[in-house]
């Protein structure tokens, strides 16, 4: 009968658990793939003067509040509420345009990480990811 050293179990199991946890948490903390490299969208700056943000791409974490319009074959306009890093800060709703190419199904209350492009005054979603 082979005897495994009990110390192996005592140290091995926690290590395995830690590895699994790190494997799950680290990717999330890293900002979600390529979105993690983008600057967070500043809604107040957009409201103040959208022209200064034109052409830029931003990351927006948001929660869907309402679908304002949907045009078949073109896309939809959603009213979303940005999720701030600092929960004490709240921001008002902003409209974003999700082209039909972005696909996906949207429900009120869902949270997304979006890659936004400020095209003229329009906030166009180039990529998104639920979280």
């Amino acid at each position: 009968m082979s005897k495994i050293n009990p110390l192996f179990f005592a140290l091995g199991i926690p290590v395995v658990v830690i590895v699994i946890l790190v494997a799950i948490v680290v990717p999330r903390m890293g900002g979600g793939g390529d979105l993690g490299n983008l600057t967070r969208f500043d809604a107040s700056a957009y409201r103040k003067d959208w022209a200064t943000l034109q052409g830029n791409a931003y990351r927006l974490d948001c929660q869907i509040e309402q679908q304002l319009a949907f045009v078949e074959g073109r896309g939809r306009v959603l009213a979303v509420k940005p999720i701030e890093k600092d929960p004490s800060r709240t921001s008002g709703r902003i409209p974003i345009f999700v082209p039909v190419s972005a696909g996906d199904t949207f429900e009120v209350g869902q949270r997304f990480k979006c890659r936004l492009r400020v095209t003229h005054d329009l906030l166009v979603v180039e990529a998104l990811e639920r979280f």
Partner: protein
């Protein structure tokens, strides 16, 4: 007098309101329970044939109906004057009790129970003598002397009658003597004729036929003359008797009609004693007396006169008791009514003449107030009637003023309604109808202050018309809706005939009215802590009525309460105007966050969202413009240099 309904109220109070709903003259209007006082004889047998319900005094016509018979009291002015004089005059001097006792004694002396064969002349003489004593009293007004004179004439007639009787007897004796002579002479002639006839038969020719016939003829003639004289004396006696009877009965009726009841009774008593049974039938006044007794085959007698007189005296006596009782109860108006009717029935009755002056004075004051009230009524001075009714009420608490005031108010309302009708007709240009309605209003209430105002308006309307039309046109051109609205009534009156301008005025009034309603709505919302909704209302109406000062003021009042909201909306509108629909949508969403229930925000969001969704492809295909540099954006624009 029982159940006499005084028409004082008829000519006084009801005349006040007669122009509105005038009742028929003499209409029974019972005041203060006036009709409830019945005499003790009401249940008497006499009342069964009397139409007591017809008793009434009509001062306007100067007549009085008593027991169904109309008595003429003289013309109305004289009647009023007589009653007023009675109220103002002091009571007649003298011992009335003694006077009445004296008259009673005269009646007693002549009553059938006291007259016998023995005292026939003595009682007449005593009663005759008492007439002179009674005539000394003021209240008698020497009417007893009239009776005495009448009695004296009958006595003289009787003396004359006796002389004629003697003469007639003498003539009769003479006639009989003449008759015997005639017979004697005729016999003698017949004998002579017979003797001559027998002699002629003895072959002697006839000579002279007869002698003495001429004398006989003269004697016959004398006898016939005497016979005629006797007949003449008989006729003379009959004429004298009839004349005395008629004169006496005439005096009796005159006293009754003059309401000198006691004198009528005494005259009747003397008549009964002086004239024989065959002369007791009524010759004079039978028709008048029969009117009191509505029975077809009724035969008036002396007792009919007595009965009427005694009934009237009893009514007068009861009437005065009622007056006293009402005065004690403080019901002066009813007392006044009763006194008036009692006065007209028995003004010469001692009990009426002796009514205390202080009480009469009180009645006189009330009478004057009632006369004034009547005058106001005659002149339709409705505004003053209420004051006078209250004055009379203060004097006589039982005065039925409520009915008068009610009808006066009705008349005032009727006049005002007619005036309103006149105004409406004038506004529509129907001058005929306006004149007719105005005439009606003036007829009902000549002093209606509204009539004067209306007249002034009509007079001033022509001038106003000349001024108002250009003023309206100018304001309309300058879009001064609020000023037009503020003068809408003046313009409405002035432009009533101008249909085109009236229509324009109506539109302006509606427009400003709607604006005011919205302003009011916004003010209410603001006061209910709903400033954002109030602002929505303001913003909506401001689009069309930006020049209105009231709206501007309300807007400036609410603006501080919704500064950020207003700024967002303003910004959104500006962005949309610039073509930045997505940015405008962002601003609208922010505004909606502040005012979630705002219909304006919801509408704008829907509209812009659709527009953004539809225009997104276009924007995506356009090249992204280079954002302006920060420094350039901060630069202040320099005005172009003058060349």
């Amino acid at each position: 007098m029982r159940h006499i309904i005084l028409s004082c109220f008829g000519w006084c109070a009801l005349t006040v309101i007669g122009f509105a709903q005038a009742p028929p003259p003499g209409a029974a209007v019972s005041g203060g329970g006036g009709g409830d006082y019945k005499s003790s004889s009401a249940e008497g047998g006499a009342d069964r044939i009397f139409n007591v319900n017809s008793d009434t005094v009509d001062v306007e016509n100067g007549t009085m109906q008593w027991k169904g018979t109309t008595m003429n009291l003289g013309n109305s002015r004289a009647v009023r004057a007589r009653f007023e004089r009675y109220l103002a005059s002091p009571p007649d001097a003298g011992d009335l009790k003694r006077y009445i006792a004296m008259l009673d004694q005269i009646q007693q002396l002549l009553s059938p129970g006291n007259i016998t064969q023995d005292n026939y002349y003595r009682n007449q003489q005593e009663a005759f003598n008492l007439l002179f004593k009674a005539a000394e009293f003021d209240v008698d007004a020497s009417n007893c002397l009239t009776i005495a004179t009448q009695v004296q004439k009958v006595w003289s007639m009787k003396t004359e009658f006796r002389q004629i009787e003697v003469t007639k007897n003498n003539l009769e004796t003479l006639r009989k003597h003449q008759e015997s002579i005639i017979v004697n002479r005729a016999d003698m002639i017949e004998e002579a004729n017979d003797a001559r006839s027998s002699a002629a038969t003895k072959a002697k020719p006839l000579g002279k036929a007869s002698t003495g016939t001429t004398e006989l003829a003269f004697k016959v003639k004398d006898e016939a003359r005497t016979q005629a004289e006797i007949l003449a004396k008989n006729a003379e006696m009959t004429a004298i008797g009839l004349k005395a009877k008629i004169e006496f009965q005439s005096q009796m009726v005159a006293f009754l009609m003059a309401r000198r009841y006691r004198h009528s009774i005494i005259t009747s008593a003397f008549y009964r004693v002086l004239f024989k049974g065959g002369s007791q039938n009524i010759v004079v006044g039978a028709k008048e007396v029969k009117e009191f007794f509505p029975i077809s085959d009724f035969v008036p007698t002396l007792e009919s006169f007595d009965m009427l007189s005694r009934e009237a005296m009893k009514d007068v006596s009861k009437g005065m008791l009622t007056v006293d009782d009402l005065v004690k109860q403080g019901e002066l108006y009813s007392a006044f009514e009763r006194l008036q009717e009692t006065f007209f029935l028995g003004e010469f009755e001692p009990v009426v003449m002796a009514y205390p002056q202080d009480k009469k004075r009180e009645m006189l004051e009330l009478w004057k107030d009632l006369r004034e009230l009547q005058r106001l009524g005659d002149e339709h001075d409705l505004a003053s009637v209420e004051g006078y009714v209250n004055k009379v009420r203060g004097r006589a608490r039982d005065f039925p003023g409520a009915a008068i005031l009610s009808k006066v108010n009705n008349a005032i309302n009727a006049s005002n309604m007619s005036l309103l009708s006149a105004k409406s007709a004038a506004l529509t240009g129907d001058m005929t109808k306006a004149e007719s309605a105005l005439a009606r209003a003036t007829k009902i209430w000549p002093q209606n202050p509204g009539v004067k105002q209306f007249a002034d308006q009509v007079v001033g309307r022509q001038d106003t018309l000349a001024q108002k039309v250009p003023e309206f046109d100018r304001m309309l051109t300058e879009a001064k809706w609020r000023e037009i609205y503020n003068k809408k009534l003046e313009f409405a009156l002035a432009l009533a005939q101008d249909k085109e301008r009236s229509e324009k005025l109506r539109k302006v009034v509606n427009r400003v009215g709607e604006l005011d309603a919205n302003i009011q709505k916004a003010s209410v919302l603001a006061s209910q802590n709903n400033p954002y909704l109030a602002w929505d209302v303001i913003v909506e109406i401001y689009k069309t009525e930006s020049d209105d000062l009231v709206l501007a003021k309300t807007r400036s009042d609410i603006a501080p309460l919704v500064a950020n909201y207003a700024q967002l909306i303003g910004r959104a509108e500006k962005l949309e105007k610039d073509g930045s629909e997505a940015a405008a949508l962002t601003a609208w969403l922010s505004a909606q966050d502040l005012n979630p229930v705002s219909p304006a925000c919801e509408a704008a969001v829907k509209r812009l969202a659709k527009s953004v969704a539809e225009g997104a492809a276009r924007k995506l295909s356009q090249p992204t413009p280079t954002p302006p540099s920060a420094s350039a954006g901060d630069e202040i624009a320099v005005p172009p240099a003058k060349k």
